[in-house]
Chain length 447, copies 2
């Protein structure tokens, strides 16, 4: 391999290989050990493990120990780690830092694979039949839970805090998400999953994912152009709606064709490879018509959810999610600059107010959605509202893509992160206060 | 993200993201569709699927359609593919080619993950107890099957073809491997796996893997220094032997500790993440003491082979291997320059002779190993010798690492590839001629 950095730095290609391997392997090691340690702590506190991955990222990242530092975070690999790697590879710490930055895109590629695998799994586990059973009520809750935080958040950021239109719209969009995984695990643990409230929330969360990812795809694509204009916006909305409609139809019709193809395959790894081909095909198609590839990954999962091999696909995808989605969430934490939220610096007061505002709107908007539906039977509307609250992994995906697209200020990034952490943390805690537990079990989350 | 190429080429970061995603997703799509199509064909001919992945790589690579072209192959993305991507991302084909080359390391990082996963799985599935049962005979066959091709190959390349010492030693080392997976699948299919011949071959193949990977680790590390010298060589040999000895001891002693840790873990994905931590730890340790990280991956598998969770680990690793090891094998094929073997060009005559010589030594050396052991019972020594013959994935791992280290000429690379393909192709064919099939089944291979 010809490495541009080897020409610049005048080190032998063998030393470079050694340093690259040490850096790439060592990064995984740090990410997994720290994320797992904190996740284990949170599980014992009956909190979602995804919070642990975020906190691990913040701890080891640009705001913490400087062990994992994305090049865009304007921070450098910590002196201790750089020194250790330098002595092992027989290079100077400066050279190690240059190789570190140069190899960072490989880690980002792995984290992107994790994002696609997670969205694919979310689509795969979406039970569209559940949505149909509680159809009208779930639809009302989902739409209210998308419209209320989006409208109030965007309008408030523009009117009160004078945030420009594009980042305000993006932050509003990031508040529309609902994490199926976290909600389902808390309801399951409290044995409310099969009650009407649980069914409405899960149905609404599925629909919310679809709405949220469509909004995301449109917002990122429009924002990518640098400014809002009506023509492309309408075109993209139509493309997004058409894409999801085709995916929903295919989830009913295409699964038998997929199953037939898989049955013809005889070489090992057939289900895994065939699913991955569907995944890449959908990602490519989504990106080719101007939408986010992430929407394609979700659609691929929806399409395959009706396959008779869906259990085998699930088994094959879960290890990928356990490994690579963790990298995705930890990387989000590493890039955060939490110093912008230091309350002792008067310059940060505005940022803290924005964070508080987003958190309040994020809670109020979803809780209010609990009162949006009509029901003949009495249901606990507070439980429905609180169940819609955790943004979890979906909110983080929004944040991660917004950061990648470079449209958020550090203060707004940190505020969105606090909103995601706050809602994800508070939802299980508040639900446990509102619902008396019949028989406590260990909490579970999908990542 | 700040992309160096975006500054150079003056394209917007959104266009760049779109082009990157299209390229990265599209590359996976091409790799998997073509590799799977050819693997399915070969399975129906009862040939190992790994040949299909190699052939797919050659077909779509620098010697073929130019759809997947490693930057070091001095070839460019084909005009058709570049044009399609350029029109989808609204860029020029030249810009697409620049982004293509810039993002190639991400694909290589994924292929490296596949290599580690495959070696981990090989270690995990090594049944050390089988080795002990046929101990003496398997050891003799393994040592003879390593020493004969290595000595004859290296000496012949230097004496007859005047190849310099370092590439000659490397080519000799590449001939020592035996593919457990291919051998086991052919013997299993012919129902000879539980006979004495099958037991000796599998035992010898396990030991051969250990010897081969140790040789590889030492050769690559010594060659990395640019020249042979006795001091580092002795040090590395000792380090390699010590490393494997520690791994073997740990495979007996450390599994209960690992199982205890896994039993304490409560967050989801516990087995997957814990195994990955052991894998990265071993890779880091191997690389840190100057050996190949690949040896660490294999040792990690050996260590965990005695875990009570080994079945769950196996289930978690197999999808990773099915996806990413395929990328590794296809990439090897894409980088090959087969034009150096065109028999109509007189300049290639020497290269063809080298290829023929390597293939002959590779076959003769392993077949002769079948006559190296003492046995009171009558055994079919030709079956044992032919069973040791397929180099398969292990030979390719050698070739891949030699290419990465840049120590082989294109002609020698192509000759080693032909040697690997030839032995992998001939072994099942010749074994079927020598052993009468009792009840034919579909062939299986691990990748």
């Amino acid at each position: 391999m010809v490495h541009p950095v080897s020409l610049l730095l005048e080190v032998s290609s063998h030393q470079l290989e050694v340093a690259e391997t040490l850096i790439e392997v060592g990064r995984f090691l740090v990410i997994f050990v720290v994320a797992r340690a904190i996740a284990e702590l949170l599980v014992r506190l009956q909190l979602p493990t995804i919070l642990g991955e975020l906190i691990a990222g913040v701890l080891i990242g640009a705001s913490g120990l400087h062990l994992i530092v994305p090049p865009q975070a304007q921070a450098q690999l910590g002196a201790g780690a750089a020194g250790l790697l330098a002595s092992l590879a027989d290079l100077t710490p400066e050279t190690v830092r240059a190789i570190y930055d140069e190899t960072f895109p490989s880690l980002q590629a792995v984290s992107q694979l994790g994002l696609f695998a997670l969205l694919f799994l979310t689509g795969l586990e979406s039970e569209l039949d559940e949505l149909v059973a509680v159809g009208a009520q779930a639809t009302t809750v989902a739409v209210a839970g998308v419209v209320l935080p989006f409208a109030a958040g965007t309008a408030g950021l523009i009117a009160i805090f004078h945030v420009p239109l594009i980042p305000a719209v993006f932050a509003g969009a990031a508040m529309t998400a609902t994490s199926i995984g976290i909600t389902a695990s808390v309801f399951g643990e409290l044995r409310w999953l099969k009650r009407r409230e649980g069914q409405i929330v899960i149905g609404a969360a599925v629909l919310d994912d679809i709405l949220g990812i469509v909004i995301l795809a449109v917002v990122v694509a429009v924002v990518g152009g640098g400014a809002f204009s009506v023509g492309p916006l309408v075109k993209l909305c139509l493309a997004a709606v058409a894409f999801v409609a085709v995916a929903l139809v295919l989830s009913r019709k295409a699964a038998p064709a997929f199953d037939w193809v898989v049955d013809q395959l005889k070489a090992p790894g057939d289900v895994t490879v065939a699913s991955f081909v569907v995944l890449t095909l959908c990602c490519f198609a989504a990106q080719a018509i101007g939408l986010e590839a992430a929407l394609g990954a979700f659609a691929a999962g929806l399409i395959l959810s009706a396959s008779k091999h869906s259990h085998a696909i699930d088994t094959a995808v879960k290890p990928l999610v356990a490994l690579f989605a963790t990298v995705f969430f930890v990387l989000i934490g590493t890039g955060m600059d939490l110093s912008v939220l230091n309350p002792f610096d008067p310059a940060n007061r505005e940022g803290l107010l924005v964070a508080g505002f987003l958190l309040a709107v994020a809670i109020a908007g979803k809780v209010a959605a609990g009162w949006s539906y009509l029901s003949k039977e009495p249901t606990n509307r507070l439980v429905v509202g609180l169940g819609m609250m955790p943004r979890g992994e979906v909110g983080l995906i929004f944040l991660g893509l917004g950061t990648q697209a470079g449209i958020l200020t550090p203060a707004l990034e940190a505020a969105i992160l606090l909103m995601v952490i706050g809602t994800t943390f508070l939802a299980p805690v508040l639900l446990r206060l509102v619902i008396p537990a019949e028989e406590p079990e260990a909490a579970q989350s999908p990542a």
